[in-house]
């Protein structure tokens, strides 16, 4: 493609990316380096139906002046990044010097909110992604060998988990796995343990979230792989069959290398997707057992507290996390591209 054609071709995308991705990221970065001004507090008398009382309140006129002179807030550099709600540098240092062994150090670090969320997010990402790749491929191979008439119907049903809105899907499952729900009850009978509750144990909650994550993500990998399987080189497979290769050998040596670019693509997409896991935690009311980086951002933004700087900082840290996560895959793709050139 000529450079000029390429330019006009990419311009709309580029503009959209600039306005809806680059600018917001810049704004969030600036936000994360500032905090609200110190509030000028005054003691005033408040009255409500239960009587009058002296209480602390914010003096808005005094605070207003500060805000007017410096609408962005107070510049604090990386302070918010290093505070207890995020990287917790001080606390981690303290734990390092106080604890006796590495395991204890890890355990106590994982109790800090950011590391707790990171720990779950990474576990989720690195279990869901491979399981979903393997299962997606198996389903695609299975469906591909089906009778043509049945295929359409089966593809439709396999896609259902992705059609259901994640939040709705997780709320439906939440009630099904309740100790009085159909799945929860079945498990109690199967394990002969009437006290079994998926929602009460951290370990089981994690498993439940991971199973949900896989269930929700499989259709994506399945449909991409299925599309890839339609382009299989027939002659290669035929010659392999003549050479006496069994199905497993054919899969390993012909099919997988053939759809490798698709595997890379799906991995890339799913790493990104799973790293920002959010809806299942809300849907499953799982915040007592599992939090993710996205959940922290949501929690800081909502409610009575509205910690914008904290949320901005968590967002930047999430973006950095995704970059680090994708780096190996991106480097690999780049090398292949250079090699082909």
């Amino acid at each position: 493609m000529k450079h000029k054609t390429f330019f006009w071709f990419i311009l709309p995308t580029f503009l959209a990316m600039f306005f809806f991705i680059t600018l917001p990221i810049i704004s969030v970065t600036i936000q994360s380096l500032h905090t609200p001004h110190e509030n000028v507090l005054v003691t005033v008398e408040n009255c409500d139906p239960f009587g009058c009382k002296k209480a602390t309140s914010i003096n808005h006129e005094a605070t207003q002046n500060l805000k007017k002179n410096n609408p962005l807030g107070k510049y604090v550099g990386l302070d918010v990044y290093f505070d207890r709600g995020h990287l917790a540098i001080e606390q981690v240092k303290d734990l390092w010097s106080k604890t006796n062994n590495f395991f204890e150090f890890l355990k106590l670090t994982a109790d800090l909110p950011f590391y707790k969320a990171l720990f779950f997010t990474l576990t989720f990402t690195f279990t869901v992604t491979p399981i979903m790749l393997v299962l997606g491929l198996l389903i695609a191979l299975g469906v591909n060998s089906f009778n043509k008439k049945l295929k359409g119907l089966i593809i439709f049903f396999s896609l259902l988990p992705m059609i259901v809105t994640p939040l709705i899907g997780s709320i439906i499952l939440f009630w099904m796995i309740d100790s009085r729900g159909i799945v929860g009850n079945l498990l109690q009978i199967l394990f002969e343990d009437p006290g079994l509750s998926l929602k009460a144990s951290t370990f089981l909650t994690w498993i439940m979230l991971i199973v949900y994550g896989v269930w929700h993500a499989i259709p994506f990998s399945f449909i991409v792989f299925y599309a890839g399987l339609q382009t299989l080189p027939k002659d290669q497979i035929e010659s392999a069959q003549i050479d006496g290769a069994n199905t497993f050998q054919q899969t390993i040596h012909i099919i997988i290398p053939h759809i490798m670019p698709l595997i890379t693509f799906v991995t890339l997409m799913q790493l990104m997707d799973n790293f920002r896991v959010f809806e299942p935690i809300v849907g499953f009311n799982a915040e007592a057992h599992a939090t993710s980086l996205s959940w922290i951002i949501f929690n800081d933004l909502g409610g009575e507290t509205r910690q914008l700087s904290a949320a901005a900082t968590s967002s930047i840290l999430t973006i950095l996390g995704i970059i680090i996560l994708l780096l190996p895959v991106l480097i690999k793709t780049w090398k292949e591209f250079e090699f082909k050139k």
Partner: protein, 408 residues
């Protein structure tokens, strides 16, 4: 005779004035608020006004949207229905306007104790009081000869008896969902043990104390008698458990208790067995382990004076004294409205007020403390860490966010 005549005359005037009461407004009214029966009544009362569009967005997520929805210029919401907890966020951001002149002009039906004043300025109009108190199954307690619990210690022993008798497996209920609900239960218990959240009039935290440890231990003891999924149960889910007959004693909001068993499909056993009592004390203390709340409405600052006036008129119409003639509405809450006669359902909140329960503090940093408690406490409830560690985690989490928000 003369007196009687005056009485009759005045009642006729009163009747005609209420029946001919028509609310007309000339600018848009848009309400955001929580959703429970009493607030739904207020929302539909405002919608009776003719002349301009009145819309209401009543949702349990109101706290997540009211600040954002009132920050824009002009504000999307002209009124937020708040409680003494949630008004603080609006005050902190300076999003609501003083109502003194509007009260003078249109607020004839309002009683003085309905007016919430901050530093002498009327910032909200309260219409109901609320508190958490005991809700129980009198049939079950009677069967086992248990007196109605007045303290949490008695609640524990009652729970043990009910479980041992095999009547209800997990007899205790409570809105213990991790986050806001769980933190509120801690606040109750902490105050009951005589704790105070902050050092004096400062923003310095003060929860890492003897009272804090005792409060956590009591909550843990109670949770042993709850459905194992208690950390996922908010007040809606807890009420559902009660309706299904799975809970025999619980600490529940007055605003929800009144209409608790009115839902479809509740068995007669639960319907007739349900009763209400005052809040419980704990650890030999005199102050109940509960907090007093008021619910009221505010008017946004960033709207035109015309819209503010329309909002005030519509909201005042929604809480006019004549709605107290409706028995269904009267039952929904402990109204602060003129002419309210308490119903049976109100006795819990009235007992709370009589026992001089502590009102929830209207402090600019109370929300940050509440949210820090909600985030950190579930580790203790799951037995992952000690009470001391959890309390110091709460203080650390609070300090980090209070520093960020400019309070420390």
């Amino acid at each position: 005779m003369k007196l009687l005549l005056i009485k009759i005359l005045s009642s006729i005037i009163f009747l005609t004035s209420t029946s001919s009461f028509a609310c007309s407004i000339s600018a848009r009214v848009s309400i955001v608020g929580n959703e429970f029966p009493a607030i739904q009544t207020v929302g539909s009362g405002a919608k009776e006004c003719k002349g301009a569009k009145v819309s209401a967005n009543l949702t349990a997520d109101h706290q997540k949207i009211n600040v954002a929805g009132m920050s824009s210029e002009p504000a999307e919401y002209t009124s937020a229905i708040v409680a003494n907890t949630s008004i603080v966020a609006l005050l902190n951001e300076d999003l609501i306007r003083p109502l003194d002149s509007l009260v003078k002009k249109h607020g004839k039906g309002l009683k003085k104790n309905q007016l919430i004043t901050i530093d002498g300025k009327i910032m909200a109009v309260a219409f109901m009081a609320n508190a958490q108190h005991l809700v129980y199954r009198k049939d079950i307690l009677k069967k086992l000869n248990i007196d109605v619990p007045k303290t949490y210690e008695e609640m524990l022993s009652a729970a043990k008896k009910i479980r041992d008798a095999g009547l209800v497996k997990n007899p205790v209920g409570g809105a213990y969902k991790a986050g806001w609900n769980l933190a509120q239960e801690f606040n109750n218990m902490f105050i009951g043990y005589g704790g105070s959240h902050f050092k004096g009039n400062t923003a310095e935290p003060n929860v890492n104390s003897e009272s804090g440890v005792k409060a956590l231990e009591m909550m843990k003891a109670l949770s042993n008698y709850m459905n194992p999924d208690f950390l996922t149960h908010d007040s809606n889910a807890t009420n559902a458990e009660f309706r299904a007959g799975n809970v025999a004693i619980m600490n529940m909001w007055g605003s929800r208790a009144a209409t608790l068993v009115d839902a479809d499909g509740v068995s007669d056993e639960v319907k007739n067995g349900m009763d209400i009592a005052g809040p419980m004390t704990v650890g030999g203390g005199k102050t109940p382990a509960s907090t007093l709340f008021w619910d009221g409405w505010t008017v946004a600052k960033k709207i035109s004076d015309k819209e503010a006036e329309a909002t005030f008129i519509a909201m005042t119409n929604a809480i006019r004294p004549s709605i107290m003639d409706n028995d269904e509405i009267r039952k929904q809450a402990v109204w602060l409205i003129d002419g309210y006669k308490p119903t049976e359902a109100a006795k819990g909140v009235f007992a709370a007020a009589k026992m001089s329960t502590t009102p929830y503090p209207m402090l600019p940093y109370a929300g940050l403390m509440h949210s820090a408690i909600g985030k950190e406490i579930s580790d203790f409830m799951q037995g992952k860490e000690s009470a001391k560690k959890t309390l110091s985690d709460i203080e650390d989490a609070y300090k980090a966010s209070a520093k960020e928000k400019g309070f420390l």
